[in-house]
Symmetry: C2
Subunit: 305 residues, 2 copies
């Protein structure tokens, strides 16, 4: 979707290490945005994206030439007329069009608050795969539900490609890299490290032997409780933070693991979370007065053992 950051570049690096010809797709896909969502606000940074990819191409030039790595063979940046020959594509959940739906996993977690999101993702990826016909496709673990859903789609539809999921790239304080982070601004940026710290704390508990689902999730909430003030079901620092979910789910189909159940250590689990960061409560600078709410997601893998 453009607005490239180190997380995206990590996907490209992995692709270069494992393939001869790498195509980078950049396309802000309208069908995965709901009617009231932030399609127009999504950052578009074509010049900067190209500069970063050229830099990466240079960095790999020697390896590409000696054949120890692949090369960036092309950028695929289609128009919506190419991706959706019959325009405009619908952003309504019951709207008409040619769509791929993967349920029930597309209805949960991220799908619960964004009903058309995974339909848009599955549909655009189907088209992308058909056009590029890649041996391997690279997705970031940060969007874990997306990567599980794409794996399911590839399996169910017998798409001749291999899905590679690359670990999340993080800032120094643990914040998962995201194109939306640029909207945070300085003040809010200081508080949001709590999300990854909460997930890591729960992961530590699991790694030390805790398998009770409710206890693992509680470990994550304790980090929020310690870092921020809690009132009326939300957290408050320089701004209100609403935790949308902290959810334990199974690996293959992302079905939920209830609090009263235990994680099967031979299977492991995914602990994923989403939170909404509201504008700072007492804005002082021009930047703070113009803030919009930012929704952040993150996850950690509780590895099978």
């Amino acid at each position: 979707m453009g607005a490239l950051h180190e997380g995206h570049l990590s996907l490209v690096r992995h692709a270069l290490a494992e393939n001869t010809d790498v195509f980078v797709s950049i396309y802000v896909n309208p069908t995965q945005f709901g009617v009231n969502e932030d399609l127009d606000k999504y950052p578009k940074t074509w010049e900067a994206d190209m500069a970063k990819l050229l830099e990466l191409k240079k960095e790999f030039r020697e390896k590409s030439e000696e054949g120890t790595a692949g090369e960036i063979a092309g950028i695929f940046a289609p128009t919506s007329k190419v991706m959706y020959p019959i325009l405009p594509p619908s952003s309504e959940i019951d709207g008409d069009g040619s769509f791929v739906t993967i349920t029930p996993m597309g209805k949960w977690l991220e799908g619960a608050s964004r009903p058309v999101f995974f339909r848009g993702v599955a549909t655009v990826c189907t088209k992308l795969f058909n056009i590029v016909q890649p041996d391997r496709v690279y997705f970031g673990q940060k969007d874990v539900q997306q990567s599980v859903l794409i794996k399911r789609m590839v399996k169910d539809f017998h798409i001749p490609t291999e899905v590679r999921v690359i670990p999340t790239t993080r800032e120094a304080d643990g914040l998962a890299m995201s194109s939306r982070n640029v909207f945070l601004g300085e003040t809010r940026r200081r508080d949001v490290g709590v999300l990854s710290r909460a997930l890591f704390a729960a992961q530590d508990a699991y790694n030390q032997g805790e398998v009770r689902a409710g206890q693992v999730r509680r470990k994550a909430f304790e980090v929020f409780d310690q870092a921020l003030d809690k009132r009326d079901g939300a957290y408050f620092g320089n701004q209100k933070i609403e935790v949308d979910y902290i959810a334990l789910t199974r690996f293959d189909d992302m079905t939920p693991i209830e609090d009263s159940a235990s994680i099967d250590p031979s299977e492991g689990a995914i602990l994923s979370a989403a939170m909404k960061v509201h504008p700072v409560t007492n804005p002082e600078t021009e930047e703070e007065r113009k803030q919009i709410p930012v929704r952040l997601i993150d996850n950690v893998i509780l590895e099978p053992r």
Copy 2:
């Protein structure tokens, strides 16, 4: 779907004429049958199907060997576990699963009375195309809405294949060949030629200059009126016949052409029809006493001129 007849074999002949390696898929797809439809009753004739294909392979042997035609390289007859890795696939319209939907054209005509039908067709064809990766795919014009929908799907999803639509194969009296014809029995078989005669009469009127949509459709109904008794909105011969629809639609998206409108002769149109043939009113033989209702469809192309 098996139960091969001359119409299917015509598809294979066309494929052999235009390709080197031809794969014949035989699979009775559960997701295109609704919960109360005739999946279990669908004729399964594996031995006879294989005999017909072997005969065809022999017929083409010389041409195949001299390279003037292709050869039947394989039969693709998967289990449902292959086609639907997560079993059982849902037959409910709001059921969960991994599905391809093409709307609105999948909701009209055949889709109106069979809400899951085209979802099942689009889904299974997506899988089939991904597995076989054919240069060309062959569909019969008899299922005209299906062929238009598959063309739309191939275009919208950028599926790298060419859709070939082969003219309907007919019995001597004009009846379009169909696996369901075997259910008719002798007595009912005598009356059902009315369907194609009605469509041909309307086509003749168009070819002689009639472009008023209502008048073209009326020509078709006149054939029913002359051949059968009409009462309470249905037709009666040896059995009750209900006309489900006789519909004029545009070529590319099958949108309806209203009776008050005119066909654009430079664009042409599709005239398609469906009728339900009830068991004979006064059954005399054992066969007649066991009859089930049979739904027949047919269509003619009003060619652009």
